[in-house]
């Protein structure tokens, strides 16, 4: 039995996560998702009036804004915006609300420096979309994992301390509808039972076999 820095006992164990919905009064849907010391609050407005420039005749346009914990948003946030938009573009049934805009604003509330902010933001967005009643064809669940430098052990949802000895870091998002091959372990609570990868980003030094393994 391994003991991880934050007293988790299993490599596949996630940090305690929680989510609460309908926190904000003035938007159409909101949710906060938290992995221990990483938390993201997401608000949804829409379907609402669209700027003429972004108007699409056959579907709603998605507008994603990510605000960092402190300071101005940088390249990192822009990348997360891009990831979130492309992840949810095909999950939200945008065709049902043509010529409108759905705005997703994610505010990082707590960030302990680990890479799971992206995962938390994706999970929070799913919960907020549910709260807003935006039609979707599936739920999206996301998780981050890493592989150790020395032992090659896969750790789910690594902490900052564990990340310092990571050889590669991986973030995945799965949708709940396509129950095909892989099963995710922990996400039962959110109703995700794995399936096709919607978004995947892996960095570091790793082999193909390892990559398939993380997905399992």
């Amino acid at each position: 039995m391994t003991i991880r820095p934050d007293r988790r006992t299993e490599p596949t164990q996630l940090r305690p996560f929680s989510s609460s919905q309908n926190l904000l009064n003035r938007c159409d849907g909101s949710a906060q998702f938290q992995f221990d010391k990483t938390a993201v609050l997401v608000s949804i407005t829409g379907p609402t009036e669209v700027k003429f420039r972004d108007e699409k005749l056959d579907r709603a346009s998605l507008e994603v804004i990510v605000r960092p914990l402190t300071g101005l948003s940088s390249t990192k946030e822009r990348v997360l915006e891009n990831v979130m938009r492309s992840t949810f573009a095909n999950v939200i049934l945008t065709g049902l609300h043509p010529r409108t805009s759905i705005q997703i604003v994610a505010q990082v509330m707590k960030d302990d420096g680990c890479v799971s902010v992206g995962s938390a933001a994706i999970n929070a967005t799913t919960m907020a979309l549910l709260d807003a009643g935006i039609p979707m064809n599936a739920l999206v669940g996301s998780v981050t994992c890493m592989v150790g430098k020395e032992d090659g052990e896969i750790l789910m949802d690594p902490t900052m301390e564990e990340l310092s000895r990571a050889r590669s870091i991986h973030t995945f998002a799965f949708d709940s509808a396509s129950r095909t091959s892989v099963m995710m372990d922990e996400n039962g609570g959110k109703g995700t039972s794995g399936g096709v990868v919607l978004y995947s980003e892996s960095t570091g030094d790793f082999t193909e076999d390892e990559w398939w393994l993380y997905k399992a």
């Binding site: 101005l72 940088s74 390249t75 990192k76 822009r78 990348v79 915006e81 891009n82 990831v83 492309s86 992840t87 573009a89 095909n90 999950v91 064809n137 599936a138 870091i169 949708d175 396509s178 095909t180 091959s181 892989v182 096709v196 990868v197 919607l198 978004y199 995947s200 980003e201 892996s202 960095t203 570091g204 030094d205 790793f206 082999t207 193909e208 990559w211 398939w212 997905k215």
Partner: protein, 336 residues
């Protein structure tokens, strides 16, 4: 008027237009689905830069220039050099706002396509910049501590800018190839620094090593040592990326601009010379498309592409002339 009709059809029903081509295993530009466009590499394209490379993939042209300078390190990382976009230095207000950004900059300006507007970098440009940054730094292609001259006193700064001159899709592959080739460019050793070592022994073997003059630090002055051998800045891995789009449930290697804007799923696989994966970036999609088989196919195509690109880069450095690989992917006929 048949061609006109086809053009009208393409404009009105772009999805349907592409789908009909793809059903016939061919793309509107005549390529088969797994084929890459003609890729050209010109190393040392900018004579005033320390390292430079121009890459063309079909209609996409990207040029990368690298300039090396000595600077003071950041307080937070006293033993690391940086790899920065040059304009951080040029615009002081930007530098103070983003003091800790050090991302090789990819510029997608209105020069390369009417899709882009002037002004602050577009989201796509930032995504490309971050992509390069992740590969170079997090996937440990370059170690920033190798750029250290004297901890907390002096470090090398590599200003790296990637400028897109003509945009026709797949800017990620082109940018990475340009950046890596520019880093490999042995010209990087002929630094404008006083007394830089101008005649080092350069090995032609692949991978060549980025070379910086051997310098010493004493009493606040960095001096290049003329008679010492050069410091070799190692590229620990030579990454090459391969981008594929999923359109109408089929995989298209090296998507063009039109294909990119229609496809809702994109996979970029980056591998190094040992065949290990550096980075996998997959966005978009849904509805049962990216099955494990499809992703395996992506990695396979990336491996095939790596061989071709590697040969091209080697030849470019050996022969010091513009080299190209015609439609890469010929060797990898596979039924898709």
């Amino acid at each position: 008027m048949a061609t006109d009709n086809a053009d009208v059809f393409r404009r009105i029903q772009p999805h349907e237009y592409f789908r009909r081509f793809i059903e016939q295993n061919v793309r509107p530009d005549g390529r088969q689905l797994h084929k890459f466009r003609k890729t050209t590499l010109n190393v040392g394209a900018i004579s005033t830069a320390n390292g430079s490379a121009m890459v063309r993939i079909g209609g996409t042209t990207v040029i990368c220039g690298i300039k090396a300078e000595v600077a003071e390190p950041k307080i937070s990382t006293p033993d690391e050099g940086f790899l920065d976009p040059a304009h951080v230095q040029a615009h002081s207000s930007y530098a103070t706002q983003h003091a800790y950004i050090s991302v090789p900059n990819v510029e997608l300006s209105p020069i390369c396509s009417p899709k882009f507007r002037s002004g602050p970098p577009s989201e796509q440009a930032q995504v490309a910049s971050e992509f390069l940054n992740k590969i170079i730094k997090i996937s440990k292609v370059l170690s920033l501590t190798d750029l250290c001259i004297e901890p907390s006193k002096a470090v090398w700064v590599l200003y790296a800018d990637v400028l897109c001159l003509s945009y026709d899709g797949n800017v990620l592959d082109a940018s990475l190839l340009a950046l890596v080739s520019a880093l490999l460019d042995p010209g990087i050793m002929s630094l404008p620094y006083p007394m830089a070592n101008r005649a080092p022994s350069v090995s032609n073997s692949f991978p060549p090593l980025v070379q910086l003059p051997k310098v010493t630090y004493s009493e606040g002055i960095v001096r290049a040592l003329a008679d010492e051998p050069v410091t070799r800045l190692t590229l620990y891995r030579i990454p090459v990326s391969t981008t594929l789009s999923l359109l109408a449930k089929r995989l298209l290697s090296d998507p063009s601009d039109a294909e990119e804007s229609l496809a809702d799923e994109q996979v970029t696989v980056t591998i190094d010379e040992r065949g290990r994966l550096c980075h996998i970036w997959k966005v978009g999609g849904g509805s049962n498309t990216a099955t494990p088989d499809v992703l395996k196919e992506c990695i396979q195509r990336a491996r095939a592409r790596y061989g071709d690109v590697k040969g091209m880069v080697e030849r470019a450095f050996k022969e010091r002339r513009v080299v190209f690989v015609a439609s890469v992917g010929d060797e990898t006929e596979m039924d898709t």
